[in-house]
């Protein structure tokens, strides 16, 4: 009886040992990733702005105000949109200046808080003269400094909407005035 019990116990041990074992084997590989550098600024299309990359017109304006919006201006979208992209370390800065001989001090810009297009949320960067009419200077001057949530903003970038207003005071009727607005993105303030 003892011998039989011993044999049974041995059989159970063998069966248990066999069923508790399982096989595992591994294989490894790696992926190496590098990203091309980007620091770019481009105009938004007319889907997201009124004038796209084209000329901003003031046509036959009446000089009854010091803040005259462009001809065709709408409130549902900005006059122009800037899409700024950067994937380096540190902040980036958007700058604007006006090159003109006849409109110096006459053209103003209005910028609200930009949007991170990757997240569709407001950025936490700094707008110089936020939500206020600010005269565009002749020298490139920072209008926006990126924040912690949009300094690295690829692939879609940060959207900065800009509206313009003209102060026609002192401008002669029957004359055509032109100026060139330059937008710059840089990594230095």
């Amino acid at each position: 009886m003892k011998k039989l019990a011993g044999i049974l116990i041995m059989a159970m041990v063998i069966v248990l040992a066999t069923t508790s074992a399982f096989a595992v084997t591994n294989l490894t590989q790696s992926a190496s990733v590098t990203i091309a550098s980007v620091l770019s600024i481009e105009f938004a299309t007319t889907t997201d702005s009124t004038f796209g990359s084209g000329t901003i017109p003031w046509t036959s304006i009446t000089p009854d105000s010091t803040v005259v919006t462009p001809t065709g201006h709408v409130t549902s979208k900005p006059d122009i949109g800037l899409i700024c992209k950067y994937n380096g370390a540190g902040n980036w800065y958007a700058k604007v200046n006006l090159a003109t001989t006849t409109l110096t001090g006459k053209l103003s810009r209005y910028i609200s808080q930009p949007t991170n297009r990757n997240t569709s949320t407001a950025t936490n960067g700094t707008v110089t003269g936020l939500d206020a009419w600010t005269v565009i200077p002749a020298l490139a001057t920072t209008v926006y400094a990126s924040g912690t949530n949009d300094s690295l903003n690829t692939p879609l970038g940060t959207f900065i909407g800009v509206n313009f207003a003209l102060d026609p005071t002192g401008l002669a009727t029957g004359s055509t005035y032109t100026g060139t607005i330059t937008y710059t993105i840089t990594t230095t303030p």
Partner: protein, 230 residues
Amino acid sequence: MKGLKARVCRWPFFIIDLIKNIWYIKTKLDRQMKRYNKNLLVMIYAGILLLALFINADAETVTQTATMETTVTSIFSIEFYQDANVLYTTNIPFTNIDPAKSLCYADGRSDGDGKSDTGVLCSSNLDVTWYLKMDASTSTPSFPMANFKYYLGQPWDRNTNSPADGTLAQPPNWYSVPTAATVIYTAGNLDKNNSAYGTLATLSYAVTPQNLYSGVSYIINITFTLATSP
């Protein structure tokens, strides 16, 4: 002189004795040879007779039995597969990927090119269901693992030269590679025992460049696990 004359006179008798002895030996040998040849012939005849008896014994059926014994080595393995359409094994390069794109492929790849980045060949003759698992980690902490994606279609049974009968964990699509070992394929009833040629799973990878810095070399480590438990 007397002795010499005597010796000369005995010569013919010596020769005669010699001839007699030779003839005697020959005769004796002849008898012995005849006996020897006879014995040899008897033995040969007996041998032929025995051989004939042996061959003809039970002429209707001749059987031979032999016992064959073989053992089959257990196979449970995973290895890389590579051919003209399966490009990479131990390293998959994403070099200077375009940060303006939403999904970037490995070097030399483009959408719909009919290729795969890597092939994993799973072999088992244990005759139990096996599971292919996958996970990834990074040695560059700033890499968001959600940005590293994989695409796995139905694996291929190389024995039947047809789609394997197992089950993908998810329908073919781009998914972030899991960060813990997760089953991506479960063997079917046919390919759970898939020796000699195994089941081939081919995968492609992609990177979303969002939140990735230029000037940094990111490394992602991918582990495939073949297991008999999920």
